[in-house]
């Protein structure tokens, strides 16, 4: 009984951690998207409310398209990698405990 309560506590804790991370990702997705597209030089063209990102951009081609050329910063690539690590770990812990809690176990 005590162990199942402890498991429920742990499951809820990991659910909270992964839900917070998912919330953070969705709330700041525009920022994540900007970082993802700006690892290399990109031409940003405003298209209504959203931005279009063009690769292989030069100043001249970008100006023709009516966009702004943004210089790339390669280490932005670590933003999605770090998020993938954090979410995979916390959500993995949660789902493992979740099925356990429901009594689904491998055949011994």
């Amino acid at each position: 009984m005590a162990s199942s309560q402890a498991n429920l506590g742990k499951t809820l804790l990991w659910l909270w951690v992964s839900a917070t991370l998912f919330g953070f990702l969705f709330l700041y997705f525009e920022e994540f998207s900007r970082l993802a597209h700006n690892t290399a030089d990109a031409c940003v063209v405003q298209n209504g409310l959203k931005s279009d990102y063009y690769a292989k951009a030069t100043q001249e081609l970008c100006a023709k398209q009516g966009g702004t050329l943004v210089a790339g910063t390669w280490w932005y690539v670590f933003a999605p990698i770090a998020m993938a690590f954090a979410l995979s770990y916390s959500h993995g812990m949660f789902t493992g405990l979740f099925w356990d809690l429901l009594g689904l176990k491998a055949k011994k």
Binding site: A40, Y54, V77, P80, I81, L87, T95, G96, K107
Partner: protein
């Protein structure tokens, strides 16, 4: 003529998010059920939702490698990972990833995002046709054998030969194969695994069978060892494609959300079924997914100018059929794994209660 290339991420509303989670769930179920390489349903599914081939591959790699880290640590505890073989293969797989990524970006630069759709589809169809046919053949062979005969299936002739070859200065001991191997044999296998990993995000489809049939590693160790390679190739591909601005972290994480639920359920499912049932499920899903890709190809060919333009109505109908066949494959995948799990658990419970009754009667 110089031109810029538009690589955008797909818009994801509530419906799209639910769809991605469900697709991830089925991908995870299949992944857990067959041991590795189940992500083969995810790349075409992301493309069906509108992601360019390059973004689908990059995002699939990004969702895959952290999962592989967790998997490899877990299975290392059970002693199933041949670390040395995994690292040697991973080293050469990285060369394959670099080559594959170079191919993908060259195609994107020449033909745009739709060029990558065509490239990914072509490699996908070829790989699924070869691996799916092998799986089907294996299923038919194993089905006609008794449990004892299945256990006695030993090394292939090719694996025996590979293990007998001695090339001075190139030998290393593989714990999985329980023999010395020349790394000269490992180079092409590692390279092909890495190449496929960066071309369709599923290197395990080549890596695992290659370790089993060519190097003579037992299936359970091969799928565990492949995770070492998946960590290296997944991380490599995510990093390299990330530098090209192609990793859609939101799409990758929605897939992961469903996939982590599915993978654990699929893995539990394997403990209740026979090996040939897993092979059959894999062959059916692979061949159905491969079939779905054919319907998109005319659209890609006409977009890159390799075929006369098709009327918009025809393209739309072809896309609907392709989507339909793909969703059918996903349904078959989910149904196969879940029904195997439910039936297996029911049978197991009945056997146990019969055992308890018998021992009470004694």
């Amino acid at each position: 003529m110089e031109h810029m290339v538009l690589i955008n991420f797909i818009d994801i509303g509530l419906g799209g998010a639910i769809m991605l989670i469900l697709i991830g769930f089925v991908g995870g179920l299949v992944s857990g059920f067959i041991g590795s390489g189940g992500a083969f349903v995810l790349t075409p599914a992301m493309m069906a939702l509108g992601a360019p081939g390059m973004v689908a591959v990059a995002s699939n790699s990004c969702h895959k490698f952290p999962k592989a880290i967790v998997g490899v640590l877990k299975r290392h505890k059970y002693g199933q990972v041949d670390v040395k073989l995994g690292l040697v293969m991973a080293f050469f797989a990285e060369a394959g990833v670099l080559f594959g990524k170079h191919m993908m970006t060259s195609i994107r630069n020449s033909f745009g995002a739709v060029g990558t759709d065509l490239y990914v589809s072509a490699i996908f169809i070829l790989t699924m046709a070869v691996v799916g046919s092998f799986m089907f053949r294996d299923y038919r062979r194993l089905k006609n054998m008794s449990d004892e005969q299945q256990k006695e299936v030993g090394l292939t002739r090719l694996a025996k030969w590979v293990q007998s070859v001695r090339i001075p200065g190139t030998m290393f001991y593989s714990r999985g194969a329980q023999s010395e191997l020349s790394f000269l044999f490992v180079i092409p296998l590692g390279f092909a695994t890495g190449f496929l990993s960066s071309a369709i995000a599923v290197g395990g489809l080549i890596g695992v069978p290659a370790m089993i049939y060519i190097l003579g590693v037992p299936a359970i160790m091969a799928s565990a060892t492949e995770m070492v390679i998946a960590v290296a190739t997944g991380l490599g591909a995510t990093f390299l494609y990330g530098l090209e601005g192609a990793v859609d972290i939101r799409m990758a994480m929605l897939i992961l959300l469903g996939s982590l639920f599915g993978i654990q359920l699929g893995a539990i499912g394997t403990t209740y079924v026979k090996d040939y049932q897993i092979k059959f499920a894999m062959a059916v899903i692979m061949l159905t997914v491969l079939f779905s890709r054919f319907f998109y190809v005319p659209g890609y060919l006409s977009s890159v100018g390799m075929m006369a333009p098709l009327p918009a109505g025809t393209l739309q109908v072809l896309k609907w059929i392709g989507d339909g066949v793909l969703y059918l494959a996903l349904f078959i995948g989910a149904y196969t794994v879940l029904s195997a799990l439910i039936q297996g658990m029911k049978l197991h419970r009945e056997k146990r209660s019969l055992g308890i009754q018998e021992s009470a009667a004694d």
